[in-house]
Symmetry: D2
């Protein structure tokens, strides 16, 4: 199978419904996409949809918070695409569990979000960056390899009851900035997205339904990620926000 798939691939971690699915479909227009999520069942419809539309997608249930498990996942990917595969785009879109609760009521799980997100972002980066560096030396590379972390306003500002969520989002931003400064000079484009607002998905359809366009369009998150990917290395964007016109911030 490797022969037909020898061009660079995109990997999306957190490819569930909503933003992850939009990103997957957008990058699938240009690359074979590998989609990672907790459960196979959440991946199946997306993978089928992309393949039916003429794209090439595979879905692998994966636990990015577990470095060992993620290594097995990488091996599966190599079996599919060859051990010399390169990664052109890697998107870390794993959701931190959002909870707003009085700090003193928070349970032992308080730090789970931090650890899952920060550990996941770190494991994912470590697994894919070598395959991205390999891409930088490819003559036929169209766009610099690009790694994007989906963040939130809570990456910029803590809030009452938001401790764990904010800690995880701040930490991912710290990682993004550190990787941008380390791998940028090697030709890898690393960026952090501040997604500030409710995303329009099936789950949120009742929210602000009387205000047109009040929710972020996940397809436009995907378009913006894609646009960043097309930037040449002379002109990298490392951070940007996305908010609906009517959001106050």
């Amino acid at each position: 199978m490797a022969s037909t798939l020898s061009k660079p691939i995109a990997i999306i971690a957190g490819a569930g419904p909503g933003t992850g699915a939009s990103i997957a479909r957008r990058f699938a227009k240009a690359y074979p996409v590998v989609l990672l999520a907790r459960s196979q069942s959440s991946l199946d419809p997306l993978v089928q949809g992309i393949n039916q539309d003429g794209g090439c997608a595979i879905g692998i249930p994966a636990d990015v918070t577990n470095a060992g498990s993620l290594n097995s996942t990488l091996k599966q990917i190599e079996q599919q695409f060859g051990s010399d595969l390169t990664v052109s785009a890697a998107i870390f879109n794993v959701a931190s569990k959002f909870t707003r609760a009085p700090f003193l009521d928070s349970s032992a799980e308080f730090l789970d979000s931090l650890e899952a997100t920060a550990r996941g972002a770190s494991n994912f980066s470590k697994a894919v960056l070598p395959l991205m560096l390999r891409a930088t030396s490819q003559a036929e590379l169209r766009h610099p390899p690009t790694m994007i972390f989906t963040g939130a306003t809570a990456a910029m500002k803590g809030g009452p009851g938001l401790g764990s969520f904010a800690m995880s989002k701040f930490a991912v931003r710290a990682l993004s900035q550190s990787l941008a400064r380390e791998f940028g000079p090697m030709g890898v484009h690393v960026a952090h997205a501040i997604i500030d607002g409710i995303i329009a998905t099936e789950k949120t359809k009742e929210y602000k339904k009387d205000v047109p366009d009040a929710k972020i369009d996940p397809d436009w998150i995907a378009e913006t990620y894609w646009f960043l990917h097309t930037q040449p290395r002379s002109s990298f964007t490392h951070e940007f926000d996305l908010r609906p016109y009517c959001e106050s911030w």
Copy 2:
């Protein structure tokens, strides 16, 4: 002439060679463009080039720091495009004079940069925002009207000897944030660009000439501005940076 030009226009203040010219050419692919700069002579080759390439450009020498003079300029534009013209994109790209000098040696002109840039940004915004608001109610509008301010790293951080330049860049960022929060809910997209690095122009061609892609490509500043313009109001970017991969920051 108004009849042939009745579609929305783009206005670029600070349309000199370099970034301004790239922005002008990019937006001219979609709109008639009005180019403002200090001197007619700096505008002529750009205007001719755009018109020869099938675009529609007019250049008007203008002093944006003078509200009265800018009003006359607006009248000239109305004569060309009709008094019901709308503005789809307005780019404030007027350069602050960059000087790095010991603060105590700085002359009476120290604050000129501040006043020119801040006053210019404010005058320009006041002149064009009514024409942008008018655009928001147009049925055939393809993209929300977009105003972008070209900023710099000195918009984020002062530096030794940089007082006047940093003051002007901070002030423009303050204006951009304030306008984004006031006019966003009315459907106008306002954004601030942190351009951090040397821009590749004729003047800078000797700079870092042995490091490939070490200077920002002005055409990619223009592409990024254009991309922001295409974002729907559900998904506005209000601030982003652009830096070469090898820039330290």
Copy 3:
């Protein structure tokens, strides 16, 4: 008169009632203080109060936005304290005129706040920094000479209708950062205070009067400025906020 007053002095610009008066009284415990404000009448009670309490204060009506006028003020100060006077503390506490108004309704005075504050901060810095540098070489100097700019939340974030105020506050912050980085290595301590909340003064006494301690105590602004002044050059604070416990931000 110089002989009796040969020790370093403190200068407070914007020494009206409220914060300015508190700062003046605090620094008068250690230094002769020169108080600048628009009108003599607003200075008189403060000057008398300090002198009656055993301090040494003089009040000079001054327009800091006018460099020439400020030079005359400096000459008056030299006549009082000798031409070899040194300045141990310089506080820029000139209020920006706070107005919240729709941007398009704002009059020609829109930029007055910007120009008054930014120009004033710049003129004031230029006038007093040479006298502060002179202080750094004095053997008997107890604390490094300290310059503090009173800022606001609007120095960090623009807001709807806040354009002019935010521009002025951003610009002063830019100046403070630039001077800190230029004059810090010469031994001058430059800092920016983010004062976020209503200040408890005669004028604001009706505001939140049912919430105890909901307004910032101007004497504690003064205490905090004084504390910064006592920091040795090994351990300078360059920025800090002050907010009531119940402020949301």
Copy 4:
């Protein structure tokens, strides 16, 4: 023993030599202090010194990263000071392990710093905040209970090879901001200190030894923490930096 010690106490986590010791000595002038560190041996000289100088200190070896272990520590403290003890000041000064290493070379321990610091900060906050809230209702309380987190420049900005350290420092800042906004309205003062520079300790004495005052004086970190503690609830500082005059930033 409780009877003699019934006044509010201060707890310092990370009370090793250097900053922690300075903070301990400063707060011991006003309160009995409980000092936590990994090993008893690093606590002993400090505890003895404070007790010899007329203060009251106890040292308890504690692992703040382990919630269960920290609970036992709290029980020990209650045995000493009574189960109705209140905490007037709680300082989280646990060092993140600083390492600068290529990201891809980092070992499985990469995230240890994150987890130790973030988990430690969270556990510590959860253990002491109830005892601080109890203090807010005490009539005789001199100063609002104060919790301060020692941070670093890496709390504001990532860097090449700094991923883990920056992640931990960003996360602690997120926690500090979240707690400040949640517990501030209840009268607890929560602040984050950006300590930017080398701290003058026995270990760093060779560093920049020819530049006078080029290292931060740990006693002035302590003085600044103490000053914050004295601020009334009308006038809380939530973030400040400390840097030597000659530091570039």
